[in-house]
């Protein structure tokens, strides 16, 4: 890399670097010093001392090395009675390409910033504070990025990080708030997408920079918890109670129980580990119930309306399979999904339709026998576009079909698999999108749930 412009620096009489352009300052910082400190680049320091002693201008080649590159440049030192000016030109660094891993783009990192990295599920794997940055929260390891940072929507109501996640690209300008050990801080987060050698998206890595934006003493009302698919909470009091009183403690219970169950802090008795696993399982069930209740609160408010996106039911069905495919594999269940060229254009809210499909497919996996088969078909009848999820489970008799979409109806099941709200919410969502959700089944013959929506011409 070659830079055409001149890089300036100023050394005082005592040999301290009192001002410097960014590249020179960065070298000085990487050598363990900074502004107001003695020049930490030995070669340059010797040249400055020589120029000051001789009281004459000096021009010499400069060689320096930091962690990632050798630097070659031409330096001119102009001494005066109070010190010396340094002008560096023809700045060349090797290697030519900036390293992609693991150093961050040096220009974006400041001593005031946090640097972070998360995996493809947005779980934090690294969080570090710069020398002058606010302290980082103590228990960040493995936390979701959206738990660590309270995401703030931009002017258009969008979340840059989630947009980037969907597209697997970098992002910037994501406004967040975060709880440090000392105080709550307002920050702007940016990140770059990471990929492995098989072009698989592996997460993000980036910087969180504090801003001057004032932060309320108490967390503002949280309306959206986007990373986990929780939905906007219409009632502020309800939403706050859910988030404050239930979600946080439950998350901690689950995390702690999983830590004990996983024996990450050392071996414990096997039955104790199992108990902890049971606690974590029950905690996750309760958390799912909290999500469902919050969802319910939202869709039952007057005037609830879903967006009318142009969607493809085939594409959404394949996405649902992608998200739950692992779960099916664990039970040896095969899913026969629509082929990639199987399109079924429809109108409905993208994430709501995906939510319904995930509910239907999740139920099918949960209640299907091992090594069975699940079919997902898309079809069109007149002006209705349909997607059907069919399984080989025990089926639902006509009496049960009449109540399966009722609130808290679990058809007599007592396991901790669901809240009994999923199908109720799914049908409410389908109807809010001018569609419907129906079931067709007979005992011993599996169940077929069909979501129908307004069809759309291609």
């Amino acid at each position: 890399m070659r830079s055409e412009h001149i890089i300036h620096g100023r050394i005082d009489r005592a040999g301290l670097l009192i001002s410097a352009d960014a590249p020179l300052l960065r070298l000085q910082q990487r050598a363990g010093a900074g502004l107001g400190k003695p020049l930490a680049l030995p070669h340059l320091a010797r040249l400055v001392a020589l120029a000051q002693r001789l009281q004459t201008d000096l021009s010499r080649p400069l060689h320096a090395a930091d962690d990632h590159s050798d630097v070659h440049a031409l330096v001119r030192i102009i001494p005066d009675s109070d010190g010396a000016n340094v002008e560096i030109s023809d700045w060349r660094t090797r290697p030519v390409a900036q390293p992609l891993m693991p150093a961050l783009a040096a220009t974006s990192v400041t001593p005031q910033s946090w640097t972070w990295e998360c995996d493809q599920q947005l779980r934090m794997v690294a969080l570090r504070a710069g020398a002058e940055a606010p302290p980082i929260p103590e228990e960040w390891e493995g936390q979701s990025l959206s738990e660590l940072f309270e995401l703030q929507p931009d002017e258009d109501g969008r979340f840059p990080v989630l947009r980037a996640l969907a597209r697997q690209i970098g992002f910037d300008g994501q406004r967040v708030r975060a709880d440090g050990p000392a105080a709550r801080v307002s920050m702007v987060v940016s990140g770059e997408a990471l990929f492995d050698a098989t072009a698989r998206f592996t997460g993000f890595r980036g910087v969180a920079e504090p801003t001057d934006e004032p932060v309320e003493a108490h967390p503002p009302q949280v309306l959206v918890d986007p990373a986990f698919g929780s939905l906007p909470l219409s009632d502020p009091i309800f939403g706050r109670r859910i988030d404050g009183a239930l979600r946080g403690p439950l998350s901690r219970i689950i995390a702690t129980a999983e830590t004990i169950s996983g024996q990450f802090d050392g071996p414990i008795r096997a039955d104790y580990a199992r108990y902890a696993g049971d606690i974590a399982h029950a905690g996750r069930h309760l958390l799912g119930l909290v999500d469902d209740l919050a969802d319910l609160q939202n869709i039952e408010r007057p005037g609830f309306k879903a967006a009318q996106d142009e969607i493809d039911l085939g594409d959404l069905a394949r996405r649902a399979v992608g998200l739950l495919g692992m779960k099916a594999e664990e039970k040896g269940i095969r899913i026969d999904a629509p082929r990639t060229d199987d399109q079924m254009p429809a109108t409905g809210e993208f994430r709501r339709v995906l939510q319904v499909l995930l509910n239907l497919l999740g139920n099918a996996i949960r209640y299907s026998p091992e090594n069975s088969m699940i079919w997902i078909r898309v079809d069109r009848e007149g002006d209705r576009a349909m997607v059907t999820v069919a399984d080989q489970g025990q089926g639902i008799d006509p009496e049960q079909q009449a109540v399966v979409f009722e609130k808290f109806e679990r058809l007599g099941r007592t396991d901790s698999g669901g809240s009994g709200l999923g199908l109720y919410i799914a049908r409410r969502l389908a109807r809010a999108m001018d569609g419907d959700l129906t079931v067709d089944s007979a005992p011993g013959q599996g169940a077929r749930f069909t979501l129908s929506l307004p069809a759309r011409a291609i």
């Binding site: 363990g32 390409a97 992609l100 693991p102 697997q168 999983e258 996983g262 399982h281 939510q355």
Partner: protein, 302 residues
């Protein structure tokens, strides 16, 4: 190491001259051996500097780490042979991973944005399996081996206890020289050393994470596939971690063994992970592209 203070004709050699003469003597002793490149020197020195800064900060946050590092740069690091191997292994690992990442980059064809995709696309919160949790813990342990700017470092939790103890004592001795008049602070320094040692004894670094992940994968029968996948993905920390745990070696030792191994030695090195030649091919290719490796039996390291 030879001393040159009594060379005829040279009265009081400067540290620079002494260092040059030592370097020359080493060179003359083995002219065919490959030498450190400037990059390797800079990386290793940076890692050593960050290690000393981190240990000093842990000992006493009031220590002027800049002054400590400047003093030691001028006078030479005490007991460098103790941590040279650790710094070199970390530096070589970093060079390798950086080169590998440069070659990977983002895919040319990014996934297309779905029609009507919402910014708030739903993601599913699935509970982590024990193996996934162990992988996450390994990732976190690995990322702790970088500083805030993403430069390579040695995690204190990963340090050999003897090295950590010796380093603490050296730094405490330097600090004592500054505060010897202040008896209260001098006494507190001894207490700080003991506290740092106690804390270190309880810490679990990358070796513990590697063993936990290895054991979890072995238990669920996914060890060999995961190792092969790690190679295909160029997920080198996972490969090193699994191999280290399988061979009951430390992560640092395994790194050094891998990065100095001849190609022919790779199958036997990874025998416990049952990686055949085909699975090892991407690893061989990646190592072959790393210049100036200190390969056993190759003088120039190429």
């Amino acid at each position: 190491m030879a001393e040159f203070s009594s060379l005829p004709g040279i009265d009081l050699p400067s540290p620079t001259l002494s260092a040059r003469l030592r370097e020359l003597a080493d060179y003359l002793a083995a002219p065919a051996a490959g030498r450190l490149t400037e990059e390797q020197r800079a990386l290793s020195l940076g890692i050593a500097g960050r290690l000393i800064t981190d240990v000093a900060a842990r000992l006493d946050s009031a220590i002027d780490t800049g002054a400590l590092w400047r003093d030691w740069l001028a006078d030479g690091l005490p007991g460098p042979e103790r941590f040279a191997a650790a710094c070199f292994a970390r530096a070589e690992e970093h060079r390798w991973r950086e080169q590998s990442a440069q070659q990977n980059g983002p895919p040319e064809m990014l996934p297309r944005e779905p029609a009507g995709a919402s910014d708030e696309e739903l993601t599913v919160r699935e509970p982590l399996s024990a193996a996934d949790q162990a992988y996450l813990t390994l990732q976190i342990a690995d990322r702790r081996r970088f500083d805030a700017l993403g430069h390579p470092a040695l995690g204190i939790a990963d340090l050999d206890p003897m090295i950590f103890r010796a380093l603490l004592h050296d730094i405490a001795a330097w600090r004592l020289g500054q505060i010897s008049q202040d008896h209260r602070r001098a006494a507190a320094l001894g207490e700080a050393v003991r506290a740092a040692l106690d804390r270190h004894a309880d810490e679990r670094g990358i070796d513990a994470a590697a063993k936990a992940y290895h054991d979890m994968l072995a238990e669920c029968g996914a060890l060999f596939d995961t190792a092969a996948t790690a190679i295909a993905r160029h997920d080198w920390p996972v490969l090193i971690a699994l191999a280290a745990a399988a061979l009951h070696r430390s992560y640092g030792d395994m790194t050094l063994a891998l990065l100095t191994a001849d190609t022919a030695a790779l199958p036997s090195l990874f025998a416990p992970l049952r990686l055949d030649r085909i699975a090892l091919a991407p690893l061989e290719a990646s190592l072959a592209m790393l210049s100036a490796r200190a390969v056993a039996g190759q003088g120039d390291g190429k």
